[in-house]
Symmetry: C2
Subunit: 375 residues, 2 copies
Amino acid sequence: MVNRNAHFYPIILAGGRGTRFWPLSRKRRAKQLLALDGKQTMIQQTAQRLAPLALPTHFWIITNEDSRPAILRQLRKIPAKQIMAEPIGRNTAPAIGLAAFLLLRRDPNAVLGMFPSDHVIGDAAQYRATLSRGIEIASAGENIVVLGIRPTRPEIGYGYIEAGSHETDAAGEHGSLRVRRFTEKPDLAAAAKFVESGNYFWNSGMFLWRADTLADALREYLPKTARLLERIASTYGTGKFADTFRKLYPKCENISIDYAVLEPRSAQGERQSHIFCLPSDFGWNDLGSWAALHEHRVAKAKPANGGPVSASGSVDLNAKNNFVYAPGKFVALVGVSNLIVVETEDALLVTTLDQSQEVGKVVTYLDEKKLHKLV
Amino acid sequence: MVNRNAHFYPIILAGGRGTRFWPLSRKRRAKQLLALDGKQTMIQQTAQRLAPLALPTHFWIITNEDSRPAILRQLRKIPAKQIMAEPIGRNTAPAIGLAAFLLLRRDPNAVLGMFPSDHVIGDAAQYRATLSRGIEIASAGENIVVLGIRPTRPEIGYGYIEAGSHETDAAGEHGSLRVRRFTEKPDLAAAAKFVESGNYFWNSGMFLWRADTLADALREYLPKTARLLERIASTYGTGKFADTFRKLYPKCENISIDYAVLEPRSAQGERQSHIFCLPSDFGWNDLGSWAALHEHRVAKAKPANGGPVSASGSVDLNAKNNFVYAPGKFVALVGVSNLIVVETEDALLVTTLDQSQEVGKVVTYLDEKKLHKLV
């Protein structure tokens, strides 16, 4: 059973650009605004998935000016003033930090969840059950909860969490592991060992903590930024807010919450840090590239030999395992395999499953050449 | 120097569909109607290239109902009634045969040239010089002249001509070789030997002969078809023609002129057959597939690493030797090589240089599935 926690506030971070999904993703149509998996967009799915856990008025979105108009259209139930556009991207620490200082003034018992806006979750019920447990653990005081994904392959693109001892509570099973260490992205050999060991988890980027716990941590580890954020938060609801936000936020440190708070805090040792990992098995996929989306679609739909094709029709002759997105076209694949082909009104991308993580470089090129219409 | 020969009649055969150029080629937009090499279409280039050798009123086009409207638009100088649509395709023997019987009635000294409508010729001046010599040889009586392309690779897709002894005339060099034998498409080992030998040539499908020589040959080798064609020709210019053509032409044998006349005639021996091969070096390319067009463009334009790209713009990252046709799109190639990608308003083809000769099978599939709009 999943119940709404009256003090739970989901903070959805939607400031990314998702350039690896070019040409479908654009500056004003970032990855989280695309319906990459189903009919709803990634951010709509994120909000809907969390809806049973929190009041609509408890959702906050931190995004940017380019994405805000589309988010307002896509998430009509969330109060518009809680869909906030950063004047400039400052990574996750200032974003979630601002939310902590804002909510602390509203609800001294607020528990924050930090959620990326562009991930896929296969089993939403399982996801909510995991989160409910996490909210409970986080509510209990100075605990920090991180959702750790049980690794299924030696992925070198993710950070890993090394878990320590099992935690039990009065009722028996606490359901979490104490965190021993956050690790940087490993090389392939290390990643393979991590997967084998059984006590390493992928860092999902989903965290839970009380607003006061986070605020205290920021004051300790990022004092200058914490002061700036407190000043911004203090003007919220007044005529000064817009101006203060625009002037002070860019002065915050450009740093992730992992690097700013979690890593130094975990260095205190697994007993002292109060960081807990909730092992998670709810079919998580961060859709980090076209290849990841391909893999997700293959696993979900088991498409024909040629591979997953979005088109008005298609035929494959001696073709295998391609990903094609060309809505409205009839697609013929002849003797090709492991390709990614994505077509939009004004652009055509051709790459391979292996190389699709390089697609962001195309956007870098287009930015450099000032081909604004294409980015 | 090239002079117009008052009795020379170019017969351009334009009944092919060119399915290997799908999705660009369609039933009503066959390969010869496409501008695959430059601004003019293949058939326009064919006619223009021959223009200095023959009067505009001497051109005849044999095509089909699907292509005739476009040819009328593309070749306005040629008399409309000389752009003839076969009621049904019957291969080259009836097509060129009909022309022979028609012209015989107009000009007893007519010399016919049979020309495919969809080939590329790199050096038009050299081409015309070769043809001029061929017209001279053909004019001289019962000679048949075939243009033989000096082979540059062991191509297994072509028929070969085995040449025999050099022919000299009173003035010294006749400029041609007697033909010993026409061979079927060879296997790779045989083709390699042919190329090495120096006396094998690719059969270009371009022939020259007097109308009466061809008519006599047809009467000898295809007597039933010859009689049908004579009956059709006898009604030309009368009200009965359309009906006779429609009724009798389908009864002609469905056979190539090579197989019907040239091969049996060459079996008489190189002295008796009077078939001459003119060795030709004018940059011929039959553009038999997307890969052949790719090769032609690479040789002609030496494009950037990524390969020849027709698009509004493009970038290649670690990409090599691809052929892309996507007009109006910005194309990004990331880590791919030796691919062919062709996009039209309603279709997208993805294949490889190696497999592009299989593209015709896509059209077979579309025909079978009655996807008429796509063929």
